[in-house]
């Protein structure tokens, strides 16, 4: 089911790309124009997707196990944690966003003692910030408190 949806997505993406690339122009006086390479790539994606749809039995991935229950929750938590950190970064800065994300992930993935979770989250976030922001002078996003 997921594989069929992906193959349909390839076909749609390829066709949409070809249409868009044509609007950019395929060839000009100096040879290929801006749209030629994307047009060819889009045609390959669409043709590949169509082939995979038509030859699904031969090309289908064998034994794909999608996560369920606790495994699905862990995958969702990690993805959600990353999204939350991305949203929080501009407002509360790197260290606070990293501590919050790590606490949530460490508690959610496997039950760990609070003291251990908070200690680890603070220590590792500060260590990463110190290494990149201080030692390597990478301007990580700052919160209202300056880090």
């Amino acid at each position: 089911m997921a594989e069929r949806a992906l193959n349909l997505f390839w076909v749609a993406l390829g066709l949409a790309t070809c249409a868009y690339a044509r609007s950019l122009g395929l060839t000009g006086p100096g040879g290929p124009d801006s749209g030629l390479f994307p047009f060819i790539a889009g045609a390959f994606v669409a043709a590949g997707g169509l082939w995979l749809l038509l030859r699904a039995r031969q090309t289908r991935a064998g034994n794909v196990v999608w996560p369920r229950g606790a495994a699905l929750a862990r995958v969702t938590m990690v993805t959600g944690g990353l999204v939350a950190m991305t949203l929080l970064l501009p407002y509360i800065g790197f260290v606070a966003a990293a501590v919050v994300t790590m606490v949530v992930l460490l508690r959610a993935i496997e039950r760990t003692r609070w003291i251990e979770v908070i200690g680890l989250a603070v220590a590792s976030s500060v260590a990463v910030w110190w290494l990149f922001a201080r030692v390597l002078a990478v301007p990580l996003p700052q919160g209202p408190w300056g880090f």
Binding site: A41, F44, V45, V138
Partner: protein
């Protein structure tokens, strides 16, 4: 003689305190990530790529290359002690290495893996030194048409390296072209696929894409099952192999070195293929093949030598032709391009200090790795006992910092997450992601050199057929395509 002069220049460049430090740090990090299951050299290199932006080019590339071959050294440790390969090229080492560990010979297996890796690494670096200058004679004749032909050859070779379904691999290559097209047209500056977004004007950041595809997706796959580390508890002693071990291993080490080097040079070869083929070859050549898989030291010495030799071999097409042989060398190519350096036929002529400096760094890195690996095995064992539930949030933090640091732009974080989720789904559905990365790196180079060639040309595409080098490379590409087609269409053996 030319090689020796060049190598002396290279050693002059690498033997500075700063460059030695970066080489050492790369070796240490490479070994560390090789030891830790769940993060491969590609993910680690992509995480550290932004750090290298502020370094001198030689220090940056020496550090990234050291991570690559350091991971080959470190990967054997987990294979032997936990029966979990630290990275893909050490999968085959599990077969005999872990059996040796269960019989109390973990020290001998780890020692032979490290020493064999050192010997193979040294042999292959000598071969790199000897072979690379041969390509300089043709280098001076390269212009845009030859470069375009070379990129076509690179793409054809990318098809060769597809693992699994060829159609899925081709879709990945085409998708790489689409992703590379996002941003401003390299020739006329026109916007493509930006949809009015200022963030997309400069294109999608390679570092964020790689971190997402290989770092984040790896974590998502690993957190599905949080395995507990079951490290061999016996005391690890006797790291230096015995005389009997040496007698059994010296031939596999030499054969593994030669085979690994060759497979490193050939696009699509690389360390993983080298280690598997070396194991198969040793088993075939052995008088006691039935002992393979039960803890024979030849099963460790050959593959571990082969995977290290392949790393040095893969530097030849990268440095001399600007062609990455695998995803890791594609990232190295990306690192050089970000530094404003275009590896390729003219690289050795224009930047001999850097070209030979990278080769000299391979010698230095191998010495560091031997010195690091034997005394630090105890430390690596302790690290293996750190649960993954503690490691992965730390790796995620590094992913975020790595993606952000490339452009100091928060827009790169959603890009990383998007490619992370996409990489997770694609890997589940058995898509090979290496061709995608190779296409993203090669596509802009091909488009630019092709369009420059046509602007130069009075007769359109005929320019590719009147220049001997480009016509030769295109003929070779056509031959490879014909071979691929023949291989795909021949009837399967009953």
């Amino acid at each position: 003689m030319e090689a020796l002069t060049g190598l002396a220049t290279g050693f002059g460049a690498i033997l500075t305190p700063a460059n030695l430090w970066y080489c050492f740090v790369g070796s240490l990090i490479g070994t560390l990530i090789g030891v830790l299951p769940g993060i491969g050299p590609l993910a680690a290199m992509s995480l550290l790529l932004p750090i290298t932006f502020s370094l001198q080019p030689l220090g940056a590339v020496a550090m990234l290359a050291a991570i690559f071959y350091g991971a080959m050294y470190g990967g054997s440790t987990t294979s032997v002690l936990v029966n979990i390969p630290g990275e893909a090229a050490s999968v085959v080492t599990c077969l005999d290495g872990y059996e040796m560990a269960k019989r109390g010979r973990a020290g001998a297996a780890l020692g032979m893996a490290a020493i064999g890796s050192f010997i193979a690494g040294t042999i292959s670096v000598v071969l790199v030194t000897l072979f690379s200058p041969a390509l300089t004679t043709v280098a001076l004749k390269f212009g845009p048409p030859e470069n375009a032909a070379l990129m076509v050859f690179g793409l054809v070779c990318t098809v060769l390296m597809i693992r699994g379904s060829p159609v899925k691999g081709l879709v990945m290559i085409a998708l790489g072209f689409l992703i590379a097209a996002v941003g401003q047209d390299v020739v006329n500056g026109r916007e493509r696929f930006t949809f009015g977004s200022v963030d997309l004007l400069a294109g999608l950041e390679l570092v964020s894409i790689v971190i997402g595809l290989f770092g984040v997706s790896e974590i998502l796959l690993n957190v599905e099952e949080l395995a507990r580390n079951d490290v061999v508890r016996t005391k690890i002693a006797g790291l230096l192999p015995t005389a009997a071990d040496w007698r059994a291993s010296w031939k596999p080490i030499l054969r593994g070195s030669g085979l690994g080097f060759l497979l490193g040079v050939v696009p699509g070869g690389g360390p993983v293929t080298a280690s598997f083929l070396s194991y198969t070859m040793e088993k075939r050549l052995s008088k006691t093949p039935e002992k393979f898989g039960t803890g024979t030291i030849e099963g460790v010495a050959g593959p571990e030598s082969a995977n290290n030799a392949a790393v040095a071999g893969s530097m030849i097409p990268l440095l001399s032709l600007g062609l990455p042989a695998n995803a890791v060398t594609a990232l190295l190519l990306g690192a050089l391009i970000i530094q404003g350096i275009q590896p390729g036929p003219m690289f050795m002529v224009q930047r001999p200090d850097l070209f030979w400096g990278v080769i000299a760094s391979l010698y230095v890195g191998n010495v560091f790795l031997l010195l690091l690996n034997l005394p630090l095995i105890g430390l690596w064992v302790q690290l293996l006992r750190v649960p993954y539930r503690i490691l992965f949030p730390l790796i995620l933090l590094l992913c975020v910092v790595g993606a952000f640091a490339a452009n100091k732009n928060l827009f790169d974080l959603p890009v990383m997450i998007g490619f992370g989720v996409a990489g997770y789904v694609l890997r589940k559905l058995e898509y090979d992601l290496a061709p995608l990365i190779l296409a993203i790196v090669l596509a802009p180079l091909l488009e630019q050199s092709l369009r420059q060639s046509l602007v130069m040309s009075q007769d359109g595409f005929a320019i590719f057929l009147v220049r001997p080098i480009s016509v030769g490379i295109l003929a070779l590409s056509a031959a490879v395509v014909a071979w691929i087609a023949w291989r795909a269409l021949r009837p399967a053996k009953p």
